[in-house]
Symmetry: C2
Subunit: 206 residues, 2 copies
DNA sequence: TGCGCTACCCGTAAAATTACGGGTGCAATA
DNA sequence: TATTGCACCCGTAATTTTACGGGTAGCGCA
């Protein structure tokens, strides 16, 4: 019988233990490893070649999105199931674009989680209803350009346009244009709202 | 032998399972209940009179701080140990003010968590070094007045001073004063930074 | 009773932001 | 090759925010 080989990637030891405890009750599940950050997860995935990687999005060293991309590149047979505590449309969209096969929230019931693992292991995709609803009611922002992300990050730190111009070595007028483009793209009426949206949707590092 | 009666309050089933699995390996620990939100935790604490409540801060229905306050009021013999994934100085300070006996991060190692439980069960306080460091490097904001909290919340939503004046039924000039007081109190140079600080420090609901 | 705190009110002026208009050069790509 | 998108540049004007100054009234607490 072919058991599903599972790698757990989460920085919280209690979460890894909980997942391991849950999966140990399923005869067709085999937890082959646990990784406490993204970097280690990538190495462990190469070493252990699991069928499914259960991936937290917020981890130190390397976040779940980058780790997902790296794992999909290095061992394409490993499916990635994103397991997150705070889901944002943009985060999920990025994870799926990076090659994740599914996404589910940590608040999900055990049965749903087990079903999700089986589904992605079978090569199908699985996105929980809760997350689907989120993607519908709050569609992801069309992605920001590199410059826009830099400027948005600076906005959240309270830099004025002049500050940003000096920091980036461009004119104030250009910064104003970047800011206006950001406001339009993320649907903010002003820079304070832009900061609110950026942090709530995790468009920048918190 | 008096085992330590423990109630687990966390909205994530996997975390509750992980904690239960960990504590089941300790002969002096007895997990007597699990609650998936703050409201239920308060009821369960009354019903089960545990020695220690392991309390997540971010939960639906009622957050961990309110739940801590309610539990300390209704059954003072129950010690509360805060277990959080994203610690902020303000959140921890509020939890301790609400009567929590300790605080530790979810990224803590199992041994530290077990030690923390034993310590608060024995009537001592326990704040992990990581959280102590956070409180030192980033001391909590002197608490905002009710009006200031309202205004700060509106700032994060991108309302202009005029909008807020209409919403609260006061003059723009008064709103300006509230905003200035907020900026000074939380150490922000302008409203965009105020929004950034408010959301990063969880001074308002996310 | 006096003190401090909060919630309000008012005016003026400088600074910053936002909203319009107009451009060029460059790189990728269809 | 033509188009598109991005990063830049410039000007003007309205609006908003921020920084000063001043004030009153109510409330709890020492």
């Amino acid at each position: 019988m072919n058991r599903i080989r599972i790698l757990l990637a989460d920085d919280h030891a209690v979460v890894r233990m909980g997942l391991a405890a849950l999966f140990s009750t399923k005869k067709d599940f085999d937890v082959v490893g646990q990784s406490k950050n993204g970097e280690i997860a990538v190495r462990d995935a190469e070493r252990l070649s699991p069928d499914v990687v259960v991936m937290d999005l917020m981890m130190p060293k390397m976040d779940g999105i980058e780790a997902t991309r790296a794992i999909r590149a290095k061992c394409p047979s490993a499916k990635v199931l994103v397991l997150t505590s705070y889901a944002t449309s943009d985060g999920i969209a990025k994870a799926l674009a990076a090659g994740a096969a599914g996404a589910i929230m940590k608040s999900a019931e055990n049965t749903e989680l087990v079903a999700a693992i089986r589904k992605v292991a079978a090569g199908q995709t699985f996105v929980s209803d809760e997350i689907k609803g989120l993607m519908d009611t709050d569609p992801p922002v069309s992605s920001l350009t590199g410059r826009q992300s830099e400027v948005l990050q600076s906005l959240t730190l309270g830099l004025t346009n002049k500050d940003i111009a000096v920091q980036l070595g461009i004119s104030i007028r250009s910064v104003e244009e970047h800011v206006n483009n950001i406001l339009e793209k993320i649907g903010a009426a002003n820079r304070a709202e832009a900061v609110g949206i950026a942090l709530r949707k995790r468009l920048v590092k918190i």
